[in-house]
Point group: C2
Chain length 199, copies 2
């Protein structure tokens, strides 16, 4: 028998689907929501809907955006001729937090992972190659994760981009091997960007 009412059980069910939320945390969250103001719970519920409705991928770099083109791509102060390639949109947020990078991005929305059956065709590489061909891009920094998938993706991209003659580098120093870029602290990320090695 369920120990809670029907709508509470349903909310708990929805909450445990979220990453890092177990049944115990879900119960605590429900109790918080029950005690919260109507405004607070309305804010939460509406924010979820609004994110799903409004957020899409930037048509240039695949970063999260509420417009056709994201804030970074449409920022005239950013250097459009330097492109940093990352796996996920959360990696953009992590590098932006470091605050030392002034170029633009290209989000692959994945990495090459034979184990998960993900090949180059599953990544947003076509758009990247078009950007290199059509725009005056001078430098590309490959900032994929330092794990197997990230390294495999970096090697694949190197083979693909090297012939175009664009200056190519891979972030290196500072990112602990086997770790995910997303979890790196800002200083490590800055060091990592500074110490990039030519490929």
């Amino acid at each position: 028998m369920a120990n809670y009412t029907e709508s509470i059980e349903k909310l708990i069910e929805s909450l445990v689907k979220l990453p890092g939320i177990g049944r115990r945390s879900a119960e605590r969250i429900v109790n918080h929501i029950l005690g919260a103001s109507n405004q607070e719970s309305k804010d939460l519920s509406e924010s979820i809907t609004r994110v799903k409705e409004n957020v899409r991928f930037c048509s240039i770099c695949n970063n999260l955006s509420e417009e056709e083109i994201c804030r970074i791509c449409s920022d005239i102060r950013r250097h459009k001729d330097v492109v940093c390639i990352v796996e996920k949109t959360s990696d953009v947020a992590a590098i932006e937090k470091a605050g030392t990078y002034h170029g633009v991005y290209h989000v692959l929305l994945g990495s090459i992972s034979p184990l998960e059956g993900k090949g180059p065709g599953d990544l947003k590489i076509d758009g990247l190659m078009n950007r290199i061909k059509q725009n005056n891009i001078k430098e590309i920094i490959i900032a994929t994760d330092a794990d197997t998938e990230g390294e495999t993706t970096a090697i694949y991209l190197t083979k693909l981009i090297k012939p175009t003659g664009v200056s190519l580098s891979r972030i290196g120093l500072g990112l602990p091997v086997g770790s995910n870029l997303e979890y790196a602290d800002s200083t490590t990320l800055s060091k990592s960007l500074e110490a990039r090695r030519a490929l």
Copy 2:
């Protein structure tokens, strides 16, 4: 500068208000929601609204309920003459999980805590005394937490209920001193209920 779009920042803001959710967890949840199906995110958002709209306190025992009277109070199989007094609605869920208690409950919706400026007047004690007077209650088990606030509340309730002549006990054996009832495992809770001592 915010690193995310406006609606994402707003959702993160709402999420970090929840217990146990920091900025990092909130970001991971947002990424999950962005990748989730529309149905899943709709379920989550609607569940929040529905819980706030439908859930209220049982008019008899103050447990969470979607009706005027909660499932436990309206269950004819429960022994209405045995009342277990707990601090919070989540304590009811914890004891129900143990599955060995067949009486009903009275949720105080708090505990006496001079440090937080909470006195007996802030607890649902009037309703409890009315239940004792008006109904044929034979036994009361005080299952407040084993911490200072819970013990203070137990002592206060003992003084109040003892003169009514109802058989009174306090759960004891099994609940580690200084801990919260809510976190106890089912076996400990069962033992604790079995080994209640008369007051």
